[in-house]
Symmetry: D2
Subunit: 344 residues, 4 copies
């Protein structure tokens, strides 16, 4: 089979690095270009020594430039690992040139322009493309080869929507009174020279931040509302924890049924055949350590007869299933590769 020719733009951040690590040894892909505004001309392995056994010194960052990239005829698909706002500009040029775009940013995650403006506090640079963007959690949404603009979900939303959407669709839990607490590893803050993310400030530090209206709340509520068939508003409390990777999410939701049987039935229906969602027995808890470096979501649930709540827990690697791995999984499915190619 001929290899798919791909590029990564904005490859200098943690998601970009992870994309290079995966795509650099993906059996069905040829990684032909990686771009960066700040690292143009630098060898990839200089900036990311972890990849020294995968890339040679000759593999270098080229300059990020939407018009130039649109003209590169030897690349079929671009991953965008760019900040929101910036990604949309690249998407416009690349789509116009007929490329497929898998966007890790937030620019095409929302169907509602108003919601984008409300949560991201800026105009959208390409509102006309919003409709074209397909928000894809690969275990839950259909992907078509004709899709040209894929919006990868955010890291927190992935850990929340994988367990909740099936229960919402099947009307198995309440759509109100939902409280979600998530703790993220520090890489979620990005690769930045910022005192806030320095070792001595984050080590031994557990703390909430950005309450009560984190940007990811916008896509969480939009997707839960679609799945639940009604406006869903949730309390989402994000935190930081002293780990490099991982998101640990705990969802308290008023139950509609006693016990967890119904919940597990639904999850089994949706996920028994899915490679990257593991449903743990009630009483076993997902642990970020055990999904670290993998594309898995582990999920579980207990029922509390005293409160009539379900407590659902999940864990992901924020950089893989929460970003780059999920993007590659989507690509695999779009192009008919093995779903786990490059991801095992």
């Amino acid at each position: 089979m001929e290899k798919l020719r791909v590029g990564v733009t904005g490859a200098s951040g943690y998601a970009g690095i992870e994309l290079m690590r995966i795509l650099g040894r993906h059996p069905n892909v040829e990684l032909r270009a990686v771009t960066s505004r700040s690292l143009e001309g630098k060898a990839v392995v200089e900036d990311m020594p972890l990849l020294r056994h995968i890339f040679s010194e000759d593999f270098k960052f080229i300059k990020s430039d939407p018009k130039v990239q649109a003209q590169m005829s030897d690349i079929d698909l671009w991953f965008l690992a760019l900040p929101h706002g910036v990604a949309a500009e690249y998407a416009r040029e690349l789509l116009a040139a007929g490329k497929t775009v898998i966007d890790l940013s937030a620019d095409f995650r929302l169907g509602s322009l108003e919601r984008y403006i409300e949560f991201y506090k800026s105009e959208h640079p390409a509102p006309d493309l919003l409709k074209m963007g397909k928000y894809i959690i690969p275990e839950l949404f259909d992907i078509s080869k004709n899709d040209k603009l894929i919006a990868c979900p955010g890291c927190y939303p992935t850990s929340i929507l994988v367990p909740l959407i099936p229960l919402m669709r099947e009307r198995a839990v309440s759509t109100s009174g939902i409280v979600i607490d998530s703790y993220s590893g520090v890489s979620g803050g990005g690769r930045k020279a910022d005192l806030t993310y320095s070792y001595c400030v984050r080590n031994e530090s557990m703390t909430a931040y950005g309450l009560p209206k984190h940007r990811h709340l916008s896509e969480i509520e939009e997707q839960l509302s679609i799945a639940g068939g009604t406006d869903v508003i949730v309390q989402f409390n994000p935190h930081l924890s002293p780990a490099t990777r991982g998101i640990s999410t705990t969802i308290t939701v008023p139950a509609k049924f006693d016990g967890v049987e119904k919940i597990y039935e639904i999850w089994s229906k949706y996920y028994a055949a899915k490679k990257f969602v593991k449903v743990l027995p009630s009483g076993k808890y997902p642990d970020t350590l055990y999904v670290s470096g993998t594309n898995r979501v582990d999920i579980s649930a207990v029922y509390d007869p005293r409160t009539k709540n379900l407590v659902i827990t999940s864990a992901i690697d924020n950089l893989i299933k929460g970003a780059s791995g999920q993007g590659v999984q989507i690509m695999n499915l779009m192009f008919g590769f093995d779903e786990g190619a490059g991801l095992l």
Copy 2:
């Protein structure tokens, strides 16, 4: 002023170590004996090298023995840093001999014997003493010099009750629909040779455990019910985080008032004059790093107009304000010492 003569029994665990660290340089106290079943005859600084500049090699653990300790006429007050169930047996002997007892275990935290049996799944070894035990959060409860048996609150409960009890007493928040997520550092699991608490299992690990009925829930609900004047049942979700110390707690509670003004008024009334409770402005978040090594509780709150919830956050050092430091603070107040003696 003559020094108070104290002893610590069960001094080999993390709370015991912390007690020795504090009491060993407390200006009003003479630490005359520390006991351990496993470390009898061993020098304290052998087992706890951190204390090498405080104790000499001659200061050794003696054998834990309730009857022998009761006869030690040169000790006025005993701290119990023993497992629940065991502590009560020591308390009985020591009280009979006229000693004052400050108990860090759970044995005298609950007023209700039924609740103890339900949550601790064993008979209580001294049910006749339950009434004598005074559960003391020093900022919230009166302490009398006549009290002879003090029950120190648990670590999770301290982080939860300090912010919530004033709001419950003042009827300022809902008494139902409360969800509490806490993340604890690993020292909360105790000083044990257990694979679960080994470095490689806890590093990079965030995970829930013990849902939905952690033992500490018993005292949380008992105290909130007393404060709120009605039966309060809450969802309490404990977790572990890769840190040595600290508890980060996030409480979502349906609000009775728009905004946080009323909440901050109440907190100010209760805590403005308190040395060890710091109320942070709304929008600043308590951080375990910044209470580490201190006896403080930092608390804060935001109001979410979309959900009509208050989100309250708090942080403590689980071994200090969550255990040993609070015990010493109580002793300071009982005996008329400066509240912060040994704790600053």
Copy 3:
């Protein structure tokens, strides 16, 4: 190509887990059995949740038993991830039954029985097999398909011998006055319920241990003596650092040449074509973070004109290049697979 049928005995430790992770997705291998004394009958993914996407619940540990394993006709090669002393007993039975054995323990690393007894302080359980054992660093020693008993080097020795052996062979550095300081991540201590390896004891802890005669010194000196053509005695100072993985090694050795040119020439001759040894330019330092999860050794050197010493630094992942990955690399070369199969 038909797949090689392999088993892992003693699969419950960190090296065993890593072997399962690698072999479970190795393209040329069928992993047919994993054994454990303590985990017999337990599902592998129960004990090692990280592998949930690789193995099903049906893949279970069988009982470790050398005689039974020797009779398993469907397994061609056994990896031994057993303690020293125990491994030799398994090797004897398996070799007698015609199996190939790749041993991660120390039992067959030394040519000298006296040295074994001196450093391991016990009799050797199979001294007659010592000669049969081939000590293999795959970049430095020839491997033959006829070899039946492979001794994988220890973790510290790998980090030391890869940079030093070529320099010894080429007589490019002094054979005396060598000082080696190594820091290891905590996984080097094994998977044990031991207070010494608990999170709260290791976090924030840097310390030496086992001076001056760590067991690994025996193979370090034996191999350096062979390479240098004279008895080589070195100072080897091992330490622990608060990390899960990695060994950082710094070797100070009196130089024979000014500058590093000669050193880099030799390294280039030995390693330019080697996938898993990366020679960094002088002034760039190997970092355990950047070899973590890989089978690489990164090495570098600076020359100090003031002391006339070379300072050589290296980094490996102690569980991969320092144990399981290197074992698989050896298997790949023995059986004509791609050297990096399963390791990229």
Copy 4:
């Protein structure tokens, strides 16, 4: 006794923070001013929330300005926690105004101007003051009340010179062939918004840096040469380890005597009466965890009969005994306070 009135200039770094923590509760000191170029007007507890129970919101940074500070008649002693080069300018003004200066920077550590220029690669801003500066390790050097300009040793040098200077003075070890490997926690790199010190870059990272001529080597060699009565040149290999605090140092030095008896005799003579140096028995190893938060140096030694080397190990908290704590200890001794005041 009247309190000593002190100020801290450059209080925004880790050493400055630690000074404020210690001086803010020192029984013999009144901390009257803290200065910062970047934090002028900001409340100290805003920038350093750990101190919320020690300082009120009213205690604010004032602007750093040598001329203004020199005119502040209510301050007798200034601590300088400034970068090298800058500190000397403040020292000149403050000394001219009759203040006592305790300088944590490198500006007055060296007696030799040439050495300063060689290692710090810049002119010295106040070479005329070099002679006035007294380099003080309080356990090893006499302090006079007439001293006006104290140079506090660097962190690495403290961990090296405390064990070695007595042995050099007593001619008990070789003065050549010395190799020193040190691992430092990340706070040693300073409080900077720098990707190099970010959590995700330092976590799980062990690496050498700055070989072979770290700036601290200048004072190490100068002091060892004075103590040994001959030019001493050493190999000093600094590294970083994933911890917030601590320096772990291992010194390999050719022995002059068999065994460690002579070494321990000398250490006992120098240190038996010293509160902040603990000599551990041979075979026990200093551990950064157990000096963390203390002003102690723990030291130990083993003798290796095979190599005829002594291997000396030491551990300090780099921010306390390696910087601020040692500065306060010096102040205590200069002004007749208890040596451990504020430090226990």
